[in-house]
Amino acid sequence: MSTSAPVLADPAVIAKYEPVIGLEVHVQIGTRTKIFCACPTGFGAPPNTNVCPVCLGMPGALPVLNRRAVEMAVQAALALECRINPYSRLARKNYFYPDLPKGYQISQYDQPLAGHGGIEILTGGSPKRIGITRAHLEDDAGKSIHDGFSDSDRYTYVDLNRSGTPLIEIVSEPDLRSSSEAYDYLTALKEILQFIGVSDCDMEKGNLRCDANVSVRLRGAPRFGTKAEVKNLNSFRFLKAALDYEIARQVAVLEGGGTVVQETRLYNPDTGETVSMRGKEHAHDYRYFPEPDLAPLRISPEWLEELRSAMPELPARRRRRFLADYGLREYDAGVLTQSRDLSDYFEQAAAAAGDPRLAANWIMGDLAGLLKHAGKEIADSPVSAAHLGELLSLIARGSVTSKLAKEILPRMFESGEGPHAIMEREGLETITDSGELERIVAQVIAANPKQVEQYRGGKASVLSFFMGQVMKATRGQADPAAVTGLLKEKL
């Protein structure tokens, strides 16, 4: 490499190159117990308390595969449109590390659970399909703690609570062409996995972790460049920053007349740089071989079908259905399918209201405002979807004006009661008694002879004046349509 070359290339130079990125994402599967033993998977327990002979790697202990972890991994793979292999194998990945108690990780190698999938992402406003090479099951290691103890200068401590936590590793094709695409892909992946309830994807708890394979090539070049693997991209911000750094670094190397070295690099969030961890010549030989303690994993067609039918509808499909069945606007359908809770809420409220577009407006408008103000999620909304639907059905039927409903909703939000209870208590019933309304209309007409004359003289706009007067007299409780009808009749 040329010694005078800058470490990072300029944006104008980078633009001549096309980055090629693939992501390896590790996601914790949200089972209650670990993948090979019955220890709980909870986060935050005192160190080395959620452990047993199996996840401690005690001599003689044996793994037994958690059925639920398999089921959730299959569902995750289905959501990523993967083909599920009817026969797959667990395999040992051998390496030494203090927080790896067995001296090997139980993973999958040449016969993974699933593969040949892909997801559609929205990037720069347009859709793009990103291929998923494979998705496989594995167990997590423990955690090495290098700091914070009085003797941390000499010792590393190990917490094995995480050891044996079920993971699914999702490997993408090298289909990503920028750090933003990588960001959008990871976002989409996270949304899907959260949506189907396989994982909370909480990056802070380490439940979603990401490594990237990055290379660059001159735009139009037929072949991929030499790639580097960048590790430790454990937040969305780091992912983008690390990829941008690595892309600029590789371009600078090439522009300086050098060659990119195939190696593993570690991202350091403090400096924002990637640094070489180990070169190709020091690459681990993991000596994979089939795990003899576990039988091959067979997914029968019946089991697969059972799991498929138990899956919630995926966001993309639901979005399409919302457009087609409910006539929602594209934007609204997108917002309402961002989370499973929100879209479930919408569907319930829309059904109860009998008017999906009205439900969409209220959920994204007034209700969203109330929730935001109270710092609550839709799942914790004090106004149930049924109650909101009830209120909206009153609007749709003309029993309550929108204006009145806007007063009722905050009270429902406060008390958790349904609309009828509040209207009854506060005397907010819409006047539907036509005799009473007729009397009020007659009063208003009698009290404003000048405007009556104007109206009769052809000034139709005066009607809204009368409407306002009637509403004032009824404190907004009159049905506007009924009032209009009556006014026209009497005038």
């Binding site: 051998n94 071989f289 003899p292």
Partner: protein, 478 residues
């Protein structure tokens, strides 16, 4: 009264008639083990506390008028590769010299639930790697039948203890012949059940796809009683079989007339004359019992040793990775870095044979060699298993030698690992195929050294195998 004359059935009768208590018997056994150990070094750890507690439970059950269990009060020795909660389990290795397991192996739980009394942990080759019991960090075991000779390995201590009369039955483990070879060398009965018949949970792994726990006894019925107690599905071992467990005592009451017994040509040709003569004499006895003898072929036998030493070492290199100095392993002192802690711990902790097999196994799994070695060995293994499947279409059982020679001298083969490996030539195929097999004594050489007859059965046909072994044993003792 010596333990040597006791059987499982006789102990039960004595306890039930209150002729003696389980605690008295346990004390005698513990004392015998202490004394006997001076001659044979069969035990690494003797466990009086655990033994007396178990014996007390048996006595209490009898006092309450409850059934004390099929192994009531029976002194049992357990190979030191099978974990015992609170009782040191070394695997014959320096690297685990202070390891106290926090849990019991399933087989241990089950044999104690049946009333068995564990008196101690027996010596063995380090991590069950060896054919002579000379690879123990705790010294070799001496053959009680000839103290200058090896007891066979790797379960040498378990076989020696039973043969010597310091226990009545014992547990060993068999990966390539480690139960049958010492049974043959020490003149007792040793059973390697079908793979999956007895849970491996708590058996410290050497080669997971080949490891079996198996019982020893001085007679077939005693060994079968121990097998009965420990056999059966265990949810903690994913490779344990759900197939129902036969009533072995009942199976042994059946008739052996008409059983078709195969004699593998590959085993008999080239067999040293003295061993050959004893095996043929045993086969004649089987004929007298009404069995028909058929020559059969197991054509892939010649690949068995190579195949075995690839698969077993590959798995071992992975299974032994956990002994790294981080947790329970005895950690080498004064290691400045993580890498040097690993290196020093394993350099100091493992013996030569373990290191040799870890290196071999690491090599055969390495990138670029996997297909040529490991995968090819797996294909050979499938062919060996097919040999058995095809043979068992023609015959009900197979009989043959356990080993080409009787017990050899201590130190005789330690210089030549390959010659040592060949002691397992007739036993590894059974492990590779996962079929049940056993050794039953069939006489002695001119020097008075015991020789075992091997009987091999189709998967889960332990009952048939035991029936023939028991009928043969009864016939030759008459």
């Amino acid at each position: 009264m010596s333990l040597e004359s006791l059987t499982v059935a006789r102990i039960r009768a004595q306890l039930l008639s209150r002729e003696r208590s389980a605690v008295e018997l346990a004390r005698e056994a513990l004392q015998a083990a202490e004394q006997g150990n001076q001659a044979t070094n069969a035990f690494i750890t003797i466990s009086p506390e655990r033994a007396l507690e178990a014996a007390q439970r048996v006595d209490q059950r009898i006092a309450r008028g409850e059934d004390p269990g099929p192994l009531a009060g029976v002194p049992v020795a357990v190979k030191d590769v099978i974990v015992t909660k609170g009782v040191r389990t070394t695997c014959g290795s320096r690297i685990l010299k202070d390891y106290i397991p926090p849990y019991d192996a399933t087989a241990v739980e089950r044999l104690e639930a049946a009333g068995g009394v564990i008196i101690g942990k027996t010596n063995c080759d380090e991590f069950a790697m060896g054919s002579s019991n000379e690879n123990s960090a705790y010294g070799p075991v001496r053959n009680p039948k000839a103290l200058d000779r090896v007891p066979g390995g790797s379960s040498g201590g378990s076989a020696a203890s039973v043969a010597q009369g310091t226990s009545v039955v014992s547990l060993g483990s068999d990966t390539g012949g480690s139960v049958r070879l010492p049974a043959s060398f020490c003149g007792c009965v040793g059973i390697t059940p079908t793979y999956g018949r007895v849970s491996r949970y708590g058996l410290v792994a050497f080669a997971s796809s080949l490891d079996h726990i198996g019982p020893f006894g001085r007679n077939v019925r005693d060994a079968a009683a121990l097998l009965q107690a420990i056999a059966g599905r265990d949810p903690r071992d994913a490779t344990s079989a759900a197939a129902p467990v036969e009533d072995y005592a009942a199976a042994m009451n059946g008739d052996v007339r008409g059983l078709r017994v195969g004699l593998p040509r590959e085993y008999m040709k080239g067999l040293p004359a003295e061993t050959g003569a004893l095996i043929y004499r045993a086969v004649d006895e089987l004929t007298r019992l009404g069995c028909s003898i058929h020559e059969i072929n197991l054509p892939h036998t010649e690949y068995a040793i190579a195949c075995y030493y690839i698969i077993a070492t590959a798995e071992a290199s992975s299974n032994l990775a956990r002994y790294d100095g981080v947790r329970y392993t005895t950690r080498a002192k004064d290691s400045g870095t993580l890498a040097s802690m690993y290196r020093n711990t394993r350099e100091e902790g493992f013996g030569a044979e373990c290191k040799r097999r870890i290196l071999l196994g690491t090599y055969v799994l390495s990138h670029g060699y996997y297909d040529a070695f490991y995968l090819k060995a797996q294909r050979a293994r499938a062919l060996i298993a097919r040999d058995y499947a095809e043979a068992f279409r023609e015959v009900d059982l197979i009989a043959g030698p356990v080993s080409p020679t009787p017990a050899f001298q201590l130190g005789e083969k330690t210089a030549d690992p390959l010659e040592m490996y060949l002691a397992d030539i007739y036993t590894v195929t059974g492990d590779l195929a996962g079929v049940p097999c056993m050794s039953v004594p069939c006489g002695e050489t001119a020097e008075g050294l015991p020789v075992g007859l091997q009987i091999i059965a189709p998967h889960f046909q332990e009952g048939r195998m035991l029936r023939l072994a028991e009928a043969y044993e009864r016939a030759v003792r008459r």
